[in-house]
């Protein structure tokens, strides 16, 4: 593979896709910029969280609220979904057919939804233990950071459903391909943000 065939971050379609590969360059670059901007957004809520660690105002702290088992399951779910999305990208690139592509995307969606299920269950448990965001500055900061990631995952799931709808409607045309490739970046990016969340919020909080 020579240097100039890699035009953008993420899995490149390659020359076999002709014009779609060229069209990807600028669109993927623009989306990459958006992700960088989003990274700063997350950076800001992380700094809020870290600066508010001691602001529990007598309310429950990390040790009272976090559940390492459920976070571990969430981490595995998200990691697995990153892998299945990778398989979907391969199915797209090497033209394994729409059925296999939709199959991998559906598995990814299921994993994403399962992640969201576990996460909301976590939040409900926290509320039950008196860990509502209105309780303290610390909890406000927590509920800024982790649900923001959850909101992104929700957005990713909706986007995924829309893309499957577009495949059904138009087949694998240029815009669908570019959509899947951008969602792939988004999905892997969210997994990276989750690494920071489970490390900084949960593991460091329970350490």
């Amino acid at each position: 593979m020579s240097q100039d065939t890699i035009k953008h971050p993420g899995l490149n379609l390659g020359c076999a896709h002709g014009g779609d590969h060229d069209a990807a360059e600028r669109v993927m670059f623009g989306f990459w910029l958006f992700l960088m901007s989003d990274a700063v957004l997350f950076g800001m809520v992380f700094s809020t969280y870290v600066a508010s660690l001691s602001a529990t105002a007598g309310g429950p702290g990390p040790r009272d609220l976090y559940n390492i088992r459920s976070v571990f399951i969430e981490t595995l779910l998200l990691l697995a979904s990153s892998f299945t999305f990778g398989m979907a990208s391969l199915a797209l690139k090497y033209k394994h057919g729409e059925t296999r592509l939709i199959g991998w995307l559906t598995v990814t969606l299921a994993l994403g939804v399962a992640f969201l299920g576990f996460e909301s269950h976590d939040f409900v448990t926290m509320f039950a233990k008196g860990g509502a965001p209105t309780r303290s500055g610390f909890l406000s900061a927590f509920f800024d950071l982790v649900p923001l990631h959850g909101l992104h995952v929700t957005g990713g799931c909706i986007w995924l459903v829309c893309l499957v709808g577009q495949i059904a409607r138009y087949g694998l045309d240029t815009r669908v391909k570019l959509g899947i490739m951008r969602l792939a970046l988004f999905w892997h990016f969210l997994d990276i943000v989750w690494i920071a969340i489970f490390s900084v919020v949960y593991l460091a909080g329970l350490a």
Partner: protein, 703 residues
Amino acid sequence: MSLAAIIDPPLGRLSLQSLPFWQMLQHPTEANVINGVIATGAACVMVLGAIVSFALITKYRKWGVLWTEWLTSTDHKKIGIMYVALAFVMAARALIEACLMRAQQAFGLGGGFVSPEHFAELFSTHGTIMIFFVVMPFLTGVINYAMPLQIGAREVTFPRLNSISLGLTAAGALLVMVSLLIGKFSTGGWFGYPPYTEANFNPGVGPDYWIWALSLSGLASTFTGINFVTTIWKERAPGMRLLRMPLFTWTALCTSILMMFAMPPLTIAMAQLALDRYLGFHYFTNAHGGNMMHFVNLFWMFGHPEVYILILPSFGIYSEVVATFSGKTLYGYRSMVMATMAIAILSFTVWLHHFFTMGQSADINAVFGIASMLIGIPTGVKIYDWMWTMFRGRIRFTVPMVYSVGFIFLFVLGGMSGILLADPGVDYQVHNSVFLVAHFHNVAVPGALFGLLAGYHFWFPKAFGFRLSERWGMVSAVCWIAGFMLAFFPLYALGLMGLPRRTVSYTEPSYVPLEMVAFLGAILVIAALGALLVQLWVSIKHRNENRVFVGDPWDGRSLEWSVSAPPPDYDFAVIPVVTDRDAFTAAKESGNAYQRPGACADIELPKNSALGPALGAIGLAIAFGLVWHIWWMVILSALAAVATTISSGFARDTTRIVPAQQVQREQQRWIAAAAAATAISRADECKSSNAGLAEQEYAGVSA
């Protein structure tokens, strides 16, 4: 939330109380009547303006044209023009408010006529509008117009996103305008520090208006930044290497990078304040572990880069203007580029100088103080580069050049006061005084506004095909410069005499003379605005004498001057190949300009899209619903936003083809005009003989 809570009360917090004259009618005390009349008058002017515009558009049957040619357009040129128009409308309001504030302070010895509450609204709207809805749209518009032309591109990379950004910006601006008529705007200043803006001190709608207006504008700017960076990075014409880009494009690149990275802190600060106010979170409250200082920190992580977002494009414009009207290539191009980059990166390392007095350790203050002073170095480099560009040039004092020279003098003064303020010790003495107000106006008005006005005069003939009246432009420029000096130099002295900023009235009689001078300056600035309007009127009236269809009225140096004025929809019939830094000057000198293109090809352009205006309207509805707690409206509009976005993903037929024949025809017409036009020398630049073809002293020497 139950259904009942969503629809009851159906209009949320809206009631007759929200109208500006209600309090005056209920409690007709003298103060209430004066403030009620001012507020009602302002609201009436706005409503009348809206009605008159509506009536005129209906009378001349222009709704169709407005919709198909402008509002739904994805053409970067038209979007740029709409941004600038928005900026001018908003500037009119913000400048009148400024004049009112100066009047209040001039007569503010022991009272004045404006109530403290009203005065607080005035300075909050003035600051918010000037930054977010005048300078931001102005610079976005100018970049939108000129940058793709300068890099030899036909469009920005994401034209629909561009239109959405415009829609969201306009929605934010409209929200601020609506606050004039319904309810009150924030009284917390343009940076709205909590806990004052928290729900327990400010339960009204003011801070909510402010939060959602800024959120809409911030979102739009993030998208714009991403769009511009992608465009500059990926759409340059062949041969246009990074170090061949015109300097304005360089500053546009740096500004866009700043927009991308500086808007997220604002978004987060606004979201957190909103969560505090709406759902009882504790980010910035006094109780339960909230920390108001965190807002200050977050806000200025956005706020300082924002200052450079405002000022860098103007630096680019000055570079173009000074080079063009000195008839020389820009001196020290590389150092200019490096200085621009240095300013962009340094701007992320100085945010703490906005709150030296917050209470952190002196070491931190020292670090950020030194970093702030460092910015003076690249800025100084730029000043020298402009002066060396003028040195031994054949300078023509046209309107843009007058603004540029005025800028160089005034900005150096403003920069010096900035270096003073960067010293934490000095800052402890003068912070929160009008000395600071004088400083930031002294950098922002010449630095940002003069530059954008210079750009307006510079590129207006390109955009509309005729030159602006030089005489009225000069009147306006002189009024701006003199008015600015009269309005703000006294404030330095007043600040040192101890007048705090945002003072509605005072008891110290020695302030009065200087306040009077400042008021006079404010009147001159209003006169300058009036002169701009007259200029536009006169120029449109005499447009046929001042046509510059051939497209190069100023003997320009970069690619935007190499096409007709106004340029065709597709900008370039054939994408140019760039071989030099001053691409068009090189083409003119080697005799390659105005060549009949060979075979033209079909050109693909983005189709019009209603997505921008639709999302703008939906954004306005969401924001208005949130401000007034009209929950059904919020929910319905949010659903509409999601549905619109999703359905736009299903759109396919998004491009149109300009047939090769049409391109060929338009090109031939333009080349014929160029051949028929007389080339004029620079001495006749401002006469009606200027048809946009510049005489070349050295033309044909090398060809």
